[in-house]
Amino acid sequence: MYVAVKGGERAIDNAHRLLDHERRGDAAVPELSLAQIKEQMTLAVDRVMTEGSLYDRDLAALAIKQARGDLMEAIFLLRAYRTTLPRLAVSEPIDTARMTVRRRISATYKDLPGGQVLGPTFDYTHRLLDFRLAAETDAPPPEPERAEARQDETVPRVTDLLNHEGLIEHERPADAAPVGDITREPLSFPAGRDVRLQTLARGDEGWLLGLAYSTQRGYGRTHPFAGEIRMGEVAVEIVPEELGFAIDIGEVTVTECQMINQFKGSKAAPPQFTRGYGLTFGHGERKAMAMALVDRSLRAEDLGEDLVAPAQDQEFVLSHCDNVEASGFVQHLKLPHYVDFQGELVTVRTLRKDHDKRQEAADAAE
C-alpha cells in the first residue's frame, strides 16, 4: 500500500550535502578564496552589499561564495545576518561633496569645478571578449595614469551649482521629524521620501532598472538629465555621546547619482528643475541612475503631477522592489499546497456536477 511521503528529515540532510558538493565543483580545481572574490568580483560584492544593506566586503564575499555566485541568494544571506547585529551608533549624514572622487561625470556641463573624471568604467570599452584573460598569465595589467588626488578638496555637486541660480528646487527635509528607518518600522503608505529612498536603496537593481526604463519610454516621463554621477570614498562619522563632536570611524565607497529633471510647474510648484536621487554602496552606477529616475517618478504626487504610470505608484513600486521578499514569495510556490489543492479539487468537481446537471436539464428541455 502507498505510504504517504515520509523521510523529510533525511532528504533535507542529503540535499544539504549535495548542495555543498555542487558548490565546491571539481575538487581538482583550486578552491575559490574570499580574497579572490573580494578583489576580482568587486562589482558583485558591491551589489550584494548594497541590496544586502550591509557594508562589509568580507562578509559579502563569503555570501557570494556560499551562494555559488547567485547574487540574490547572497543578498538574502547578508540581510539575514545584518538583522541580528546590534546597533551601536547612528552615523552623521555622509558628505559626498567631500568625496575622494575616483569617477565623476556630468552630462549637463562640458566642464565644471572639480572637472570630469572618467575613472574605471565599462562605458567606452568595446564589448569584445578579451581572450587574453582566458590565458590567465597572471601578468598585472599596465599601470594606468590616474587623475591627481583631490583629497581634502571639496568637489561641489552640480545640483549645488544650479542652486546658486535658484533654478533647481531646494533640497531639505520637509519637516523636523526624525528620519524614518525601514529596518525598525514597517513600511506604511503614503511613505515619505526618506522612507522611499531607503526602500529603493535596498531595492532590486533589475526591478528599478525596468521601472526607470519604462519612464523613459513614456510611462510617466520625467525629462531627466544625468546632472552628475560620482563614485569614490567618503568618510563616515559618528558623534559619541561622551565626546559631543564628530569622529571619523572609517570610509565607505559609494556611487551617487543626481538626476536633474525638467519641470514646467504645477499648481503646487513653480517652473524649475527638480531632482531625483540615487545612492549605492561601492560602484553601482546602473542601480544609482535607475534609483534616481524612480525616485523622481515617485515624487509625482508631491509635485502635483498626474499619476498615470506604474513607476509613479508608490504602493506598486515600493511593495515589490525588495528581491529578498519577492524571491521568497515567488519560490514559496514550491512548498506543498496539497491541502488547498484538495479543496479546489472538491470545489471544481462539485461545480462540474452542477454544470453537467444544468446541461442535461437544458438538453432535455430542447
Binding site: M1, Y2, A4, V5, K6, G7, G8, E9, A11, I12, F76, R79, A80, R82, T83, T84, P86, T183, R184, E185, P186, L187, S188, F189, P190, E315, S319, V324, E325, S327, G328, F329, V330, Q331, H332, L335, P336, H337, Y338, V339, D340, Q342, G343, E344, L345, V346, T347, T350, L351, D354
Partner: protein
Amino acid sequence: MRPSDDTLAGYNFAYLDEQTKRMIRRAILKAVAIPGYQVPFAGREMPLPYGWGTGGIQVTASIIGPDDTLKVIDQGADDTTNAVSIRRFFATVADVATTEKTTEATVIQTRHRIPEKPLTEDQILVYQVPIPEPLRWMEARETETRKMHALEDYGVMHVKLYEDIAHLGRIATSYDYPVKVNGRYVMAPSPIPKFDNPKMDRMPALQLFGAGREKRIYAVPPYTRVDSLDFEDHPFEVQTWDHACALCGSTESYLDEVVIDDQGGRMYVCSDTDFCGDRQAAQAQEAAE
C-alpha cells in the same frame, strides 16, 4: 541560554534579540486586544525565506520559552520538508522540546491546517500567513483596504461571494475563506481549507497569525466568535468526501487525495498525520486485545 551548534554561536535564545521579541510581543498584545485587526509590526529578515513561514516563526520565537514543547505542521503533517526545517530551526536556536503529538504541544505552528483534535486553553496555535489582507483580491491598495476595515466597509466581500452564487450557484472559495471575528473585523484565516473554519470559532486556544513579508500580526483570543461569511439562503458549508481515510477509516477528518497509478486510481488519507497515526495505533491495540 545559548544554542549549542557552532554555526549559531552568538545568536540569542530563539534567534531574535530581546528588543525585537518585546516589539513583537507588544504587537501581539495589541492584536489580542482588537481581535481580527491586522497590527503592523517591524518584521525582521529571518534566515528562512519570506513566504516560507517567517511571520509564524517570528511570532513563535517571541512567545516560546525553554519549558515549551513545540509542534510544527505543514499541510497537517509533521514530516513535510518545511515543517521539518522550521522544527529543526527552533530545536537548534531555542533548544526547546519538540513533539509530533498535538496533545503534548504547548505551541503549535501551522501552515494550511488546524489539527483535528480540539485544542485546549493551555495551547497556542500560530498560523503562517502569506497574504493577511482578506480584501486584497478586491482592492490591491493597502491605503484603501485599511480605510475599508476602519469603516467596516465590507460590501465588496459580500458582492464577491454573491457573484460566485450568481455565476456558479455556490460560493467557490475553498480555502482562505473569509471570516468575521467577534462581529467586527473581516479576517483572512490564512490558507486553511474552509473545512477548518468552524474549529476557529470559540476555540479555547489562543490563535496568533504572523505575516512576515507583509509585516502584520493578528489574533483571535480564546473563546472568540469566528463566523464564516455566508448568506441566509446560502449558508456556509465545508468540504465532504465520499470516501473514508484508507489508513485509519476516519470519515470526519480532512482527506488528502493521493494518486496511486496512471489509470485514475486514487486513495484518500488523513491530512493530519498525528490524528491518523493515533487512530491506527488505537485500532492495532484493540485488535491485539
